[in-house]
Amino acid sequence: MTTVSSASPSLEGADSRNRLFGPLPDVSADAGYEEDHPSRVGFFTDTSVCIGCKACEVACKEWNTLPMDDSNGVLGQMGMSGMSYDNTGQLGANSWRHVSFIEQSRSVDLPMPTIGMPGADRHDHGHDHGANAISPQADSVLSAQTSVLNAEALSEFDPQTSVTGGDGGTQIRWLMSSDVCKHCTHAGCLDVCPTGALFRTEFGTVVVQGDICNGCGYCVSACPYGVIDVRKDDGRAFKCTMCYDRLTDGLQPACATACPTQSIQFGDLDELQARADARLATLKSQGVETARLYGRDESDGVGGVGAFFLLLDEPEVYGLPPDPIVTTRDLPAMWKAAATGAAMIVGVVASSFLGRRR
């Protein structure tokens, strides 16, 4: 992971010419804003403290007056998705925040029934590692398996982890994550928009201008995260604006304001990145091996994102692409191939006029 921040001057020079992909030290300046533009803002969504309350979804819908739809994006419909507590289903034209719910379990193969009492591992922090006289091997397995639960912060109050039953010990945990538009450094939607309806704001975010969009739908197929979509009865494309209207008035976005656990943190991207790095280090030191940052790496396929996440499992488990790449990274190669193909047509047709008359 690179430690370069989004506004770092260390990238000036050769790398700052990354117009189609790669790290970009100042997205707003790259988009043509004057030097005194505000610093790039973003979201840091720390899913380890998300409680799945959906306050962000409600706040977003209310603030932006988004219409009702079902989990497949059908307007005016209500329906059960069959996906845990998630009836929102996906991000789209009418859902700009989407809380995903993943119910997971794992077996805790406990060697001695007394240790396997419900909740035992919540209070026992495993101080007597290696003290299992009967089977040291089993003990190391046990400590590895319960290491997640031994995390100091999570052991006090952990909404995502509980142990059920003494019957072989099945642990249940909930993964909840509030997904949102990533406001990429290299935004595919912005790159491909033919009307200029999508634009980079002075805050470094990406916003659709409703009075310009003509509903061509190119942004929909260009987004590597499947965020933006066209609203059926309206015909235009819609997505999260990071509450551009609120930002210009010095307010925080509605979702971050409503979040009761600070799972959604809004602020200057630099600051959020530092905070996220610290949070990850804390979790790792507490033994949460599976914690990882998603979208933080500025050398990734989209040049890092403005809305990044701390996840507790693989990205695809949350419905996120594991290695997204902005499609325009390969555009020069495509134009080259198309130009060659076009020249080929002219060449073939011209040569077909040569030679024998019939």
Binding site: E103, S105, D229, V317, T327, A338, A350, S351, F353
Partner: protein, 404 residues
């Protein structure tokens, strides 16, 4: 299926997987090995929720058409997803409007080049027909493209900016002059017809005075149109490839040549069908070269990309691609063997045009299908990450050995 308890393919699927996961005790069946690395967590409630429901093919490839062995050999890799839901959005473009647009753009592009060159090689009928085809197809393209917009009344917004990063923007600046020049060339042709000139004179009384300029203006328009003809035929491949639809993006260096070949087959075929054989020689040759290019490049698309080639074989896309190949090959055979007879030329040309339409529809459907299954996103991206990691490890190793 040998186990009596496995009554459905899905059961067999689960049983097969529980053997894999059996070593770790009472984990539910169907857990991907990946999950073990992630602290042993897996989705509660069994495997069927973790994986998208998909029918297992049991025939082992017997039901396939020609040349799909590669696709059949792609293993059904393990992967996680969010309730099997798709990750990228399915393009909102209308079907069949957009594939037809791809076809018309290709046919018009090739015809415009044919028309311009026929103007100066003493082939008046070929020039006339090619110009009519180009003009009509270009106008049809414009109508289809505007119809595809969510807000058609705002189609002129396409021209308020120029963005090289947006193939649709670049395409608008190709389509606009192309359709203007092709319809101008076709329009001057029409005005050279006496009854139509009479009709036009009723509206614009000065027309007969300008009549002597018509042939020159027509030729100039035809040349100008031909300059945009090639790009018109191939930019649409970039339009599709420059998306997050995995099976389109993956083939981004090959698709422009598929479309170029398909465009030559269509444009050559249509003008060949309409024109007396004595003048249609260039159309025949163009069509046949186009077919060769198309078949060669389609083969690369269909077999060169592992899992991401799969959508080109399966379902609706597979049916269309196979039908396209049959029509194209048959059309090419008619053209080559009977192309110097009028009947053979008409049959051959029609088949080539039909093949081109179906190629575009097949490619379109394949990309759509690749957005609907998360495996086409997750598995190739995971492989990409693993390859990168392996590459980094090798580089590190080399660096270390150099230091030593």
């Amino acid at each position: 299926m040998t186990t009596p308890s496995s009554t459905s393919p899905d059961d067999a699927h689960l049983n097969g997987r529980s053997v894999d996961a059996g070593s770790t005790g009472n984990e539910p069946a169907g857990e991907a090995p990946l999950a073990a690395a992630a602290g042993g967590w897996h989705r509660a409630g069994g495997a069927d929720l973790t994986q998208p429901k998909r029918r297992k093919r049991r025939k082992g490839g017997g039901g396939w058409g020609s040349g799909n062995r590669e696709a059949a050999m792609v293993p059904d890799a393990e992967f996680s997803s969010y309730y099997g839901r798709q990750i990228v959005k399915t393009p909102t473009w209308k079907n069949p409007e957009v594939p037809l647009y791809l076809f018309l753009g290709g046919a018009a592009g090739t015809s415009s080049v044919l028309g311009a060159l026929a103007e100066f090689t003493d082939r008046p009928t070929l020039a006339r027909n090619a110009e009519y085809v180009a003009g009509a197809a270009a106008l049809g393209s414009v109508v289809l493209l505007i119809d595809d917009l969510g807000r058609p009344e705002r189609f002129l917004h396409m021209l308020r900016v120029f963005k090289p990063t947006s193939p649709l923007s670049v395409g608008s600046y190709i389509l606009s002059p192309f359709s203007a020049f092709t319809s101008a060339a076709a329009g001057f042709r029409l005005l050279e017809l006496a009854p139509l000139l009479k009709l036009g004179t009723k509206v614009l009384p000065f027309l007969p005075a300008l009549a002597r300029f018509f042939p020159g203006a027509r030729k100039a328009s035809a040349i100008a149109a031909a300059a945009f003809g090639g790009p018109m035929a191939t930019y649409t491949a970039v339009l599709l490839s420059n998306t997050a639809a995995p099976s389109w993006h993956e083939v981004h260096t090959e698709l422009p040549f598929v479309f170029a070949g398909s465009a030559m087959a269509a444009g050559g075929g249509i003008t060949m069908a309409l024109t007396p054989v004595a003048e249609a020689g260039p159309s025949r040759k163009t069509a046949l070269t186009g077919v060769a290019l198309e078949l060669f490049m389609v083969n690369k698309v269909e077999h060169g990309h592992g899992l991401l080639s799969e959508p080109y074989h399966e379902g609706k896309a597979g049916t269309l691609m196979r039908a396209a190949k049959k029509a194209t090959i048959t059309g090419a055979a008619f053209t080559a063997l009977l192309g110097r007879t009028r009947v053979g030329a008409v049959i051959g040309g029609t088949l080539l045009a039909a093949g081109s339409v179906m190629t575009r529809m097949g490619v379109f459907e394949a990309g759509i299908a690749s957005t609907k299954d998360p495996k086409y996103i997750v598995i190739p991206q995971k492989e990409r990450m693993a390859a990168r990691k392996a590459g980094e490890a090798v580089a590190e190793d080399e660096a270390r050995s150099v230091v030593r």
